[in-house]
Amino acid sequence: MYLDIIILVVLLLASLWTVMTRSILRSAIGLALTSVILSIVMFRLNSPLAAVFELSVCAGLISVLFVSTISITQPYTTEEILKRMKDMFARFRFLPLIIIVSAIGLAFVSIKPVINLPPPEAIKDARVMLWNVRGFDVMGQILILLTGVFGIVILFKEGLKK
């Protein structure tokens, strides 16, 4: 119980830091941290699949994308950027590994659900759920991704060229 509260407080602090910090880079790191804590919550809520997904995509992939984008757009010369990227990768070299290992570790720690909600009727396998029941949504999600890609292409491609 206390552990849950502590985790939630930390989650809140991390997200606040993300929003409040002046540096955009720190903000991206804060986002990654928030995602990590969120995945812990998900583990504790007994849905490991979602937790892993959150950890790998949100905390891992997206953070990497953010950080690299921020680095690119910094008004530095190419040498400086390369140097900074090297520094950064040096600094965060082990972060994904640490995150994944700690996540797997957490997965084996069984924690009782503390929030007493009525459970969904039938817990189905995620794959079955995704394709057979929610096919429509999947197509919609594909479209969202497509839209996102378009947005980046349309809005930022020429900016990169300059």
């Binding site: 909600l117 429509f136 197509m139 479209l143």
Partner: protein, 477 residues
Amino acid sequence: MYSSLILLPFFGVIVLNLPFRALMKKCAFWLCLSIVLFQICLILFPQICCFSDKLDALGSFFKFDFAVDSLSRVMLFCIGIVLFTALFVQRNNCEDEDKIFNFANVSLLILCGMNGVVMVKDIFSLYVFLEITAVSSFILIAFNKESVAFEGAFKYIILSAVATVLMLAAIALFLVISGDTGFSAISSALKVSQGRFFIGFAVGIFLCACFIKSGLVPFHGWVPDAYSSAPASVSVLLAGVVTKTVGIYTLIRIVNSIFGFGDPIKHLLLAVGAISIVVGALAALGQKDIKRMLAYSSISQVGYIVIGLGTGTALGLTGAIFHLFNHSIFKSLLFVNSAAVESETGTRDMDKLSGLAKKMPLTGITSILGSLSCAGIPPLAGFWSKLIIIIALWVSGFRGYAIIAVLASVLTLAYFLSWQRSVFFGILKEDLANVKEAGFGLVFPALILAVIIVGVGIFFPLFINSFALPIENILGG
């Protein structure tokens, strides 16, 4: 048959991005236009769709599950008309082939998203399609990469993100309560377990999400910036149909199909609607920028729709949906007019404009029709919808709100008259002496929309039977 409305734009996007880029750039506009025209025709003449069987088979592969009723059909028609207009405006304002290609792509995506929103009967699918629409509109607002446009898009993203979070949270709570995300399942579950803390909370945050998306006071902060900073064609699209679909349509659908018209919800809708009407109209009165004024006017008019919905009667609902339709038509017409003025004079500042009616007669006339329809002057279409809403309010006993609606209508007339006077009438300024009538792409859609306004207004008695009576049937269903 209706699955083609999602599949066609979807395949359209895919076809456009196949390798033959040079060819596709040439035909992107026409492909997009033909898909939009197909949608309009399909709604007007359902029997034309001869290949629907095959498309339905394809739809079943994706597990498509639709519920299309008369409300959906009205929205699909509006989406078609307004997107048609926006495409013309974009083509007129921009010669760059790349830009038109990109615009066509995003238009198809947003079409897909809006059609999905209008047709789904599952709350999670609704959310997904809302997101498609929202993301597409962010891109469209910032389409010209101006810094103000980025600022407007940013405000929209921030508030829209809040709405998304609220909506997702509400969906999660509904899922927990009912175990399913279909409208009917949630509705019956809500009926069984009424009055619980959860339900009030979930309903509240979902309604707030809808309010943010529709831009009602006090959730409207993003509206003026987003509408006024967006490119002309996008303003038409956003004001005409995007916020109406993602906000108002969702609100109507959810309240009608899931929440039902309980007393607290009625009072909430009436209060929010009345505040929006008054604040929007007052704020519109003080604007000098044409598009900002139209944006505030949009807030005010959305208030009318919500107040009509808030009566919870068949008449009020009919009025609300009819006004939704009218608002789509006349607000996109007015944005087209403002685009015409801006493209010919290079400014949207009312103080710098005057006497344009002599130089731009068609724009002047259509804008008068649009304004008068918005202000509710007979026999234009807007008059009938406002009348129905006010009658519905009076009949259901919300007399105070009816009086507010009537008085605010005077304010509406006031700001539109001041707009007309300062822009289209008066003495022509010297530096505007060389202004010409706007191009075909701006005049042609304006004329079509004006014809719809006048036609629907004059032939209202014919229209009411085929339009309004079916709407009454969807009440509570």
